[in-house]
């Protein structure tokens, strides 16, 4: 039988049993749509989460005081260690080969006041290089001025939310804020930026590091951000940074230096596993659709016994009959897969339009795999009944006997 | 006593109205034996369906034992079919997955008769139809005559007053056909009202009262 004739023959069959065909298509398309939609959502969630956490740029090292030996656990995030990481330590790191720029960081909470308004905000004490390392956009005014690190200066750059809550529509530049008994002049307002690593960059005030040391009465740094000249130097620079610190801390390794990727890789793995898992859960429905195709093919064979007898009587081979039924199942699966893809792509498109900052997109592997699984299950499950049809004795079949 | 008064039934065939029953008035006495004959499309089957409460007339009244059935609700008509009317079909209409015994038992099951009351009645029926040794056979293991006897057993297990037979011998050889006719006439002699719709002139002539239909009307009605 020529392929074109085979297809036409099967299309006629599918068209004749419209309700049944429609149901098969719905079943298959639910399965394919489920896989694509769920992996698409998973992928969107992953890129969103990773995007939230990867604002540092690829070439950044984060140094925190303290070191633990338990492997695979959390780094010493509290930043407390018997020996502080000092401003001088951070300054020294600027001279380490491979290091492009260094930003010391102290973070604290303080209540700020302006006019009659009070508000508790996070205050970060750092230097001008922090703005370029974290790529913080300035909307008005300027970033922190380049100063000697140990010089305190009563200036502050405020986040967009702080600006809105404290100053409202009034201009903020040039105004004096009070924080914990100290006064700071607003010299810049940051543009909106998302939350990252537990810090809402919009609800933040940035002041010079020496001012923060005075404000919080603290010498030690919570973190040191180190930008490396190129990502290929990341690992070697990390080693040199640690060596420098060991040398400065009486031969003791009491700091932890991590890369953003090492922090994100755990996230990445978890999110990938989740995407895979929800895709797998969706694929269960493809299995059910396969079972349904088997059932319907069985019914189809028993209803068309006489037709099979007739086909054989006029010269169809076992192979021809097998093909007729298999192609019928494959057609249903293919059409169902197309329908399912249309549904899932449409839904994901709607999702992207509604949440413009989340990239809902079915990964290619899921797309290919879902269609392939649909076709495979359909053919696999239709195989048994089709073979039964192919092996019918023409004489019996003509009389409607299976 | 069955009374049909000015019964009419019209079908649309394409855009053409076909008067399957055209102002039919007919009274049938209890225990009578009628045959209804006529060419295809003369309205015999529609008459049978109306009498069997399977079809509702467009116009007129149908009184069964004094009750006007045209005003009954669907469940009530179902009850009347169950309790007062038995059907015998040309193609037997047995349920293939149920045994002879279960086919006969079916109306009792549908009526909600408890199993312990059903068994003796079904046994008696099997006995009467000489089907006791075939009781557990499935329909496709029975001959045509046996199948029709099972169908008759099922039709009368509820002791209906009216037995409607639509070409009861149409699918049978002459020997089996004769047996079935004998059985039906025996039942009539025991008091059941028997109405046979047939093309078979010989069968039609056996009835006490013979009705001939043409174009939805009663053309002749004689004894």
């Amino acid at each position: 039988m020529r392929t074109a004739d085979l297809l036409r023959f099967d299309f006629q069959v599918l068209n004749r049993h419209r309700f049944r065909t429609l149901m098969m298509l719905i079943a298959m398309s639910i399965g394919v749509a489920a896989v694509n939609l769920l992996t698409g959502l998973g992928e969107g969630a992953k890129s969103f989460v990773l995007g939230e956490f990867s604002m540092l740029g690829k070439n950044t090292l984060i140094m925190m005081p303290g070191k633990k030996e338990t492997s695979g656990g959390m780094p010493p995030i509290t930043g407390e260690a018997p020996r502080d990481v000092t401003l001088q330590d951070a300054e020294a790191l600027r001279r380490v080969p491979g290091v492009k720029q260094v930003a010391p960081l102290i973070v604290g909470i303080s209540e700020i006041s302006f006019g009659g308004r009070n508000r508790e905000v996070m205050i970060a004490g750092t230097t001008a290089s922090y703005f370029s390392i974290r790529q913080l956009p300035i909307r008005q005014g300027s970033a922190l001025p380049v100063l000697a690190w140990d010089i305190a200066s009563p200036v502050a750059v405020v986040g967009s939310k702080v600006k809105k809550e404290i100053f409202g529509e009034r201009p903020a530049l040039g105004q004096w804020l009070k924080a914990g008994g100290h006064r700071f002049r607003v010299i810049g307002v940051m543009d909106s930026k998302g939350q990252a690593l537990g810090m809402d960059m919009n609800d933040l005030i940035i002041i010079p590091v020496a001012s923060a040391q005075a404000l919080f009465n603290q010498e030690g740094l919570l973190r040191v951000m180190i930008e490396v000249q190129g990502s290929e130097q990341l690992e070697s620079t990390r080693k040199r940074v640690i060596d420098t610190m060991i040398a400065r801390h009486e031969q003791e390794e009491d700091v932890t230096v991590i890369t953003q990727d090492s922090m994100l890789s755990a996230f990445n793995d978890i999110l990938d596993t989740m995407t895979l898992a929800v895709g797998g859960i969706g694929a269960i429905s493809l299995l059910v659709a396969g079972i349904l195709i088997m059932n319907v093919t069985l019914i189809s064979v028993s209803q068309r016994t006489k037709e099979i007898g007739l086909l054989k009587a006029i010269g169809a081979s076992d192979r021809d009959v097998l093909q007729i039924f298999l192609v019928e199942a494959a057609l249903m699966a293919a059409l169902g897969a197309v329908l399912g893809l249309l549904v899932s792509e449409g839904a994901l498109l709607a999702g992207r339009l509604m949440f413009s900052d989340i990239a809902f997109r079915t990964p290619l592997w899921a797309l290919l795999l879902s269609v392939a699984t649909a076709m495979t299950t359909a053919l696999l499950f239709a195989w048994g009944p089709s073979r039964r049809a192919a092996r019918l004795e023409p004489v019996n079949a003509l009389q409607g006997r299976l | 006593m069955i009374q049909l008064e000015h019964i009419s039934k019209t079908f649309l065939l394409g855009d053409q109205a076909v008067h399957a029953l055209d102002d039919v008035t007919l009274t049938i006495a209890s225990g009578d034996y009628l045959s209804v004959m006529g060419p295809s499309g003369s309205g015999k089957s529609t008459l049978l369906n109306v009498l069997g409460l399977l079809d509702q007339p467009d116009d007129g009244h149908y009184r069964l034992e004094g009750t006007d059935t045209t005003t009954l609700s669907e469940p009530e008509r179902a009850r009347y079919r169950r309790e007062h009317i038995g059907f015998v079909f040309q193609s037997y209409h047995l349920v293939n997955r149920l045994s002879a015994r279960e086919n006969i038992e079916l109306p009792l099951v549908l009526a909600g008769v408890p199993p312990k009351d059903r068994a003796p009645r079904v046994n008696e029926m099997l006995e009467r139809l000489s089907l006791t040794d075939r009781a557990t056979h499935l329909p496709n293991q029975l001959s045509g005559g046996q199948r029709q006897r099972v169908a008759i057993g099922r039709a009368i297990i509820m002791k209906p007053q009216l037995l409607l037979a639509d070409e009861p011998t149409g699918n049978l050889d002459s020997k089996s056909g004769a047996d079935v006719v004998t059985l039906l006439e025996e039942l009539n002699q025991q008091g059941i009202t028997l109405l046979v719709v047939t093309h078979d002139l010989a069968l039609g002539q056996r009835a006490r009262r013979r009705i001939r239909m043409v174009d939805g009307r009663i053309d002749s009605d004689g004894t």
């Binding site: 079943a27 639910i30 489920a34 005081p65 070191k67 633990k68 030996e69 338990t70 695979g72 656990g73 010493p76 509290t78 930043g79 407390e80 260690a81 018997p82 909470i109 303080s110 209540e111 508000r119 508790e120 996070m122 924080a179 914990g180 537990g198 609800d203 404000l215 919080f216 603290q218 030690g220 009491d254 859960i281 969706g282 269960i284 429905s285 299995l287 059910v288 079972i291 349904l292 059932n295 319907v296 019914i299 | 069997g52 399977l54 079809d55 469940p75 179902a78 079919r81 009317i85 059907f87 079909f89 209409h93 293939n96 109306p107 099951v109 549908l110 009526a111 909600g112 199993p115 509820m158």
Partner: protein
């Protein structure tokens, strides 16, 4: 019609085409098994997490410095209005308070003789055992010294003790924590990991020593353990009032353990239901299967429906017969799915008791109910079609 007769008729019809019925039920079985498995995993994770979180006891209130900061970062950050040891001491005097644990946490090197290990250092007080339900493997807890004048005593986590002392008795031995000498007075029992923190790789020292070690004047957290004589809400309110009195305003955050557990429980329950719902997508496909097969069945049995009508079956009875058939198929599938998955999960629990799998009768009941509902909904359209069939046409179908 009697119930047993309805059952019998439905049964006969289901078994009359066994392969078809099995496949139809299998579709539902796969879906129900998926739902059962996923909800079991969800339940397992939930109870695992809940046990993990409630291991420190439920009558705990945690106070962190800072009001608006989220994500539990509050304690790590500097503040110009810290929680102090005096705050902790004041809370001790509140009614119903059993223990108050001031906490500072950091990391550093712990040395014993030639051996050393970099571990977590937690500054706390005598109450850690009662408050956090840490059990002592040997020795005693930190002593009840007057605040600010505690002696240099330390309690070791199990793993840290093993790393530093091996099988030797550490009690009475000296260790150096960040260069300062402490005497080991106790060792804790093994406790395991929690959220990436190895609870056994810790040294506990008096909180005032930790504060001077870390050169820090504020606490990271104060944990208040209260008696059963009050509720956590009332206790939290009392703590809040006391601290506001001391600080002038609310520049701290109070979290009760049972509030947190409740929130966590809610989140995990929603998650369990959500993954169960994902599994239910395949039930939808199974429902399409039942709809397809029942429609086919109704069409094949047209003549039989005509006959039943002629025999005096009401439309309602026909509707019910087919509806029950659909429900029977779905329920058979549901039971099979639950049985297979249930025994698999029980087997897994027996073979690998560490896996977080909990067979929840609630969700099993829900999924069984779901299968009945699916049969009902998917069977409704075909059953109505059967009931509304014109008996005359139906009888002519054979």
């Amino acid at each position: 019609m009697l119930w047993r007769d309805v059952f019998n008729l439905v049964w006969r019809s289901v078994v009359s085409s066994p392969l078809r019925s099995v496949l139809t039920a299998l579709g539902i079985a796969v879906g129900i098994a998926a739902v059962a498995l996923l909800t079991s995993i969800g339940e397992g994770v939930r109870s695992y997490v809940m046990t993990n979180f409630s291991q420190f006891g439920t009558r705990i209130i945690a106070i962190n410095p800072g009001k608006t900061v989220t994500g539990g970062m509050g304690g790590m950050l500097q503040t110009d209005r810290p929680l102090t040891l005096d705050d902790a001491a004041a809370l001790t005097r509140l009614p119903h308070v059993e223990h108050v644990v001031p906490v500072v946490q950091g990391a550093g090197t712990v040395k014993a003789g030639e051996r050393s290990r970099r571990s977590d250092i937690i500054g706390a007080n005598y109450a850690i055992n009662d408050a956090w339900q840490f059990k002592l493997a040997m020795g005693s807890s930190l002593p009840r010294d007057e605040s600010g004048r505690s002696r240099n005593f330390a309690v070791l986590g199990f793993k840290l003790k093993q790393e530093l002392f091996g099988n030797r008795n550490p009690l009475g031995q000296f260790i150096r924590v960040g260069g300062i000498r402490f005497r080991v007075v106790g060792v804790l029992e093994e406790k395991g990991q929690m959220l990436g923190f190895d609870l056994d790789d810790i040294v506990f020292i008096p909180v005032d020593k930790a504060m001077s070690l870390f050169n820090r004047d504020g606490l990271m957290e104060i944990d208040v353990v209260f008696a059963t004589s009050t509720t956590s809400a009332a206790m939290a309110e009392a703590v809040r009032k006391e601290l506001i009195l001391r600080h002038g305003n609310e520049d701290f955050t109070v979290i009760t353990q049972d509030e947190m557990l409740k929130t966590l429980d809610k989140i995990l329950t929603v998650l369990t239901a959500a993954v169960g719902a994902l599994g239910a997508i395949s039930l939808l496909v199974g429902a399409v299967g039942i709809l397809t097969i029942m429609t086919t069945t109704v069409r094949e049995r047209t003549a039989e429906i005509g006959l039943l009508t002629a025999l005096g079956t009401t439309q309602r009875q026909i509707l019910l017969l087919f509806l029950w058939e659909a429900i029977a198929l779905a329920m058979a599938g549901g039971l099979a799915g639950i049985a297979v998955m249930g025994s698999l999960i029980l087997l897994t629990q027996w073979l690998a008791p560490d896996l977080p799998l909990t067979l929840s009768p609630f969700y099993l009941g829900i999924s069984l109910l779901l299968s009945v509902l699916i049969g009902l909904l998917a069977g409704l359209a075909p059953a109505r079609a059967a009931a509304r069939m014109n008996p005359i046409d139906a009888l002519r179908a054979e």
